[in-house]
Symmetry: D2
Subunit: 295 residues, 4 copies
C-alpha cells in the first residue's frame, strides 16, 4: 500500500480509524472464505445469476436449472424489493413470502446456493432460512440498524454500493458488519450516477476503477454487477468481460428465460444462451489475467 | 441497430439529422482505414505510447526507442498543451516549436509515426509536418473553428472526449470533421467527472460503457486512454486490460522512463518494463476477445 | 400546471400513478396545516434553528432560549444521528436517550416546539414523546419501512432529500407517508452532490431550482437547509436569503453559541447574533416577495 | 479572507501563484469599473436583456426598445453561436454579419450598449465595432488563444462558466485576460450539470453558492444568467430574485416578444411584461439586501 492516494477521499488515517477491520494489514492481505463450498477471494471467481425478481415458481426453477448447468455458483433473485413509489400492480410486484418459498425449492432441487435481498429486520428469520448470502440493496447501504441486525446473524453479507456513494462510505458500511465479528462481507459495484451531459446513453455508469481502488485499501472481495449499470443487454457482455479484466473477484448477472417479458427492466437481462457463452468467455479471460477460474 | 436506446440522449432522429456521416449505415458498418501503414477499425488494435509532454530531446528519443521496441504503433507526446493558468515555470512548461522538432527527430530515427496535439490554427503547418494524427484535446472538443481548420488539412484526427461531454455531443464534433470530407476520425475516451460522493478515489472515472455505446451508433474507431482517467499508475494495467475487454479499437498510454520525475502528473505514467509486460497481456486478451492483435 | 416539463424526469403520468396524493390537483392547490400552532404553507415562513447535535443539556437550553427570543418557530437538534463509521469518541457522539430528555426540558422551559431525527422504529415512542415533527434524514430517504412506521404515528414528518436523489424519487418517499393518511409532510432540500470539476469550493450544492420545481407539481410545503449544503458559515446568510427569494416555505438553520467548538462540522453553524440579524433580513425579503412573514 | 476554504479545490497558494491578478488583495477588495457609463462592482446591479439569437432586424429593434424602456442596462443577443452539430436550417441558424449589423442599428436607435458573443479571432474587428462587452461562451471558457486575442483588444470581457468547470478553472480563464493588462472582466454563472438522479427536473442547476464563493476569493464582478440554467420560463423569476438575494453583481436574462416562437429554446425566454415586473422586484430586493439599485 502506498503512503498516499490519488484523490483526497481516503487517507492513511481513515484506514486506521474509520475502517480498521476492512483495511488491508499489508500489501498482500486478501480475505479468503468459503460460502456454501464456494471460495471467495481465492482461485475462483464466483458468478451469481438469475432474474431481477422471483416472479413465479416456474420462472425461478427454470432459471436455477439453466444457470446451474452453465456453471453459475449462486442463484440470485429478489422476493423483497424496495419500490420508489408505494403502488403495486399485477405485473410489477414483490412476491415476498411466496418468492422466498420458491427460492428454497429451486435451491433444493438444483443444489445451488442462493443470494437474496433483505429489507426489514422483521423478515430476517424468513430470509435466513433460504439465503446463503444476505444482500443489502444499494438504497439501504447506509441503513446501519438493518446492516447491524443482519451482521449479528453471522450470515455472509453482500453490500451493494449506492449509486451516489464513495468507496470510503461503502467501506464504512462494511465496517458495521465486521465490527459484529462477521467476517464474510462482499462488496458489489453496480454503477454510479453521472451528469446527463456525460452519459454514454444509459442510466448509470459502471465504475470499474473502483475494483483496483478497493483492492488497494481493503482485503474484502469485490464483485461487479454489469446488468444494472448498463441497463441494456447488448452491453452486458463487454462490461462483464471488462469487469473480469479489471480484476473483479466475482460477477453478478441478470439472466431471464424471456428477457423481453421480464417483470422489471426488460431491457437488461440476458438469456440462457448468452449466459452460457459469456461464462466461457469470462473463464478464458480470468485464466489469462490472474489464473483464476470460473468454470 | 435497435430501434430505441436505453437513455434519452441519442435518438434515431439524431442519427439521421445530427450526425448522419458519423452514424452507422447498418449493424456491421465499421470504418477501416490505414494511417502510416497501421490499420484502424480492423484486425489490429493500435497502441499510442509516450510521455505527457515532450520535455526534452533526450526524453523523447529514449521513449521512442523503447516503446517502438515493445510494439507501440504510434509515439505520443505534447509539445503544445493547454494550461489552466497563464503562468509557466522551468519544469512545467510547453516546449512548443522545439518539442515539434524533437518529435520529428524521434520519428525519423526510430521509424515510428507520431500523434500530437494542435491548439491553434496558426501552428497547423508546423504540426502537420510531423504529426501523422492531429490530436484535438478535450478542452477543445467543442472548438469547432479549430476542428474545421484541422479537418481541411485532410490529416487524420483524434478527438478526445471532454470530461463533461455526452457521446451525442462528441459525435457532433466528429461530424464537423467528416463534413469536410476527411474520413479518418478516431474517438478517444479519457474519463468523465463524477461527484466527489461517488469517486473511487481518483479525479476522473473511465467510462468504458461508452465503448459499446459508441460502437452501437457510429462506424468510427474508439480508443481509450486509461492513464489520464485513473491518474494513478497502479490502476493503469487493470483499466487498460478492461479497455481491451470492453472492445476498444485502440489504447493510449502514458509511458515515461522515470515516472516519478515526469514534468507533469508524475503519479500517472508507467515505466518501460510495465509497458512491455502490459503490451503482451493486452495482446492475449484482444486475441481471446476478438481475434484482433496488438503485437 | 403546464402539460409538459422541461426535463424528462417527471411526467404527467407520474402525477397520476406514482404520487397522486402528493401531486397538485390544480394550479393553486397548496397544503396548509398547523403544527404546534405554527402555520405551514400559508402566510408564515417557519424557521427551524438549533445545533447539529444535542451535545449537552446546557447547550440545548442555551440555544432554545436564544433562538426563541430571535423568533425561531422550532428548535432543531439531533440526539440520534447516522454516522458513516461505527466508531464513536468522546466529542463526536450521539447523546441518544439523554439528548431526547434534554430536548424535552428545553421545549418545556422555553415553550418552543421541537423537530428531531428518528432512525429506528424501536425508538419511535421515545422520540414521539418530545418531537412535534419527526425528521427523516437524507440517508433514510428511501428507507420505506421506517417512513411507513413513522407515518402511522400521525406525527408530522419532514423528509430530507438525499444528496443524490431527484425530485421524483423524493416525492415517492412523501407518497409513502400520505398513503397512510398522514397529511402533514414537509420536504427539506439540503444540497446535492456535483462533480468536483464543477464545485464552487464546497461539498454540496444547494439546489434552489427545486423550490419552484416542487411547487409546480406538489402541494406540499418545501423548506431549505442552507447550512448543510454550504458547509461554510460565511455563505449561510446569502444562501438563506436566496432560499427565501426562491419562494421556499421555510428555512432550517444550524445555530450554535460557539460555532468553532461545535462537536460536528464546526465550519457551518452561525452564532446567535448572526441568527438574529438574519431573521430580520429574511423577514424583509419574504414580505417583499410574497407578503409572507417570518417575525 | 479566511486562511482555509471548505473544499480542497482552491488553496491560499492558488491565490498567489495560479490567479494572483484575479485574487482579492484584502477582504474588502472589489473591482469597480464603468462600461458605456454603467458601473460594475459598485452601487448598480446591471441587467443584460435580450433574445438568445439576433433572429431578425425587426426582432432586435423591438427588444432593444422594450428592454431599454424597462430599465435594462445592456442589450444581449447572439449573432454568432456555437452549434453542437454542423447542420443548419432556416429557423435555427446564425445571422452572423447581418446580426452584428442589426445589433448596431438597435444600439444606435435606442441608445443601449451591447454585449454579444465572439467565437473566432477573425471576426474580432467586426464584433468589436458593435460590442461594448465581448462574451466568451461557456464552450470557449478554456479556449485560451481566443481569450488572449480578445483581451488584447482591451474591450471589456464577460466569461461564461462552462457547465462542467470549477470556480478555480474559471478564474484561470479570467487570469488570461488580466495578464494582458485588460482589467474589465466579468464572470457569468449559467448553471452546472448534475447527475440525472439529482435533477430537479431541468437540464442544468444554477449554482448560486458560487456567488459568495467567488466574492470570497476574487475582486471581479460576478453576474448570473438564470434563463439558461432553468430552461423554463416559470422558474426565471424565482431564480432571478434568488440571484440578487445571493449577492450577485448583475443579472442576464433572455427576453423575447413572443417566447413560444423563439428560434431557439422557446421554453426559456420571458416576455416584455414579465421582464418589466421582474425589474421592479429585483430592484426592491437589491435595495433591501445591499442598498444597490437596478432602476
Amino acid at each position: 500500500m502506498d503512503n498516499k492516494f490519488p484523490g483526497k477521499d481516503i487517507s492513511i488515517e481513515d484506514l486506521k480509524t474509520k475502517f480498521p477491520l476492512a483495511a488491508k494489514k499489508n500489501k498482500n492481505h486478501k480475505s479468503k472464505f468459503k460460502i456454501a463450498g464456494v471460495e471467495f477471494g481465492g482461485n475462483t471467481i464466483p458468478v451469481f445469476a438469475g432474474p431481477n425478481m422471483v416472479e413465479s415458481k416456474k420462472l425461478i426453477l427454470d432459471v436455477a436449472k439453466n444457470v446451474k448447468s452453465s456453471g453459475a455458483h449462486f442463484l440470485r433473485g429478489g422476493a423483497f424489493k424496495p419500490l420508489t413509489f408505494p403502488y403495486r400492480n399485477k405485473k410489477y410486484n414483490e412476491t415476498r413470502e411466496d418468492g422466498i418459498k420458491w427460492l428454497a425449492e429451486a435451491k433444493d432441487k438444483y443444489n445451488i446456493p442462493v443470494i437474496t435481498e433483505i429489507m426489514e429486520e422483521k423478515y430476517l428469520d424468513l430470509v435466513c432460512d433460504v439465503a446463503d448470502i444476505l444482500q443489502i440493496g444499494s438504497r439501504n447501504m447506509q441503513n446501519y440498524p438493518l446492516i447491524t441486525a443482519c451482521a449479528k446473524t453471522k450470515k455472509p453479507i453482500m453490500i451493494k454500493r449506492h449509486y451516489g456513494s464513495s468507496l470510503r462510505d461503502w467501506l464504512g458500511a462494511a465496517e458495521y458488519v465486521l465490527i459484529e465479528g462477521n467476517k464474510k462481507v462482499i462488496l458489489c459495484e453496480r454503477g454510479v450516477s453521472v451528469p446527463h451531459t456525460h452519459r454514454s446513453t444509459s442510466r448509470f455508469l459502471l465504475d470499474l476503477q473502483v475494483v483496483p481502488a478497493a483492492q488497494e485499501v481493503t482485503h474484502l472481495p469485490i464483485i461487479v454487477d454489469p446488468s444494472h449499470a448498463t441497463f441494456w443487454r447488448q452491453w452486458v457482455r463487454p462490461m462483464a468481460l471488462a469487469s473480469i479484466a479489471s480484476g473483479a473477484d466475482g460477477v453478478m448477472l441478470e439472466v431471464h428465460p424471456d428477457p423481453h417479458n421480464s417483470a422489471v427492466d426488460p431491457l437488461q437481462p440476458i438469456d440462457f444462451k448468452e449466459f452460457r457463452n459469456l461464462m466461457k468467455e469470462m473463464n478464458i479471460i480470468s485464466n489469462q489475467i490472474s489464473k483464476r477460474r470460473i468454470l
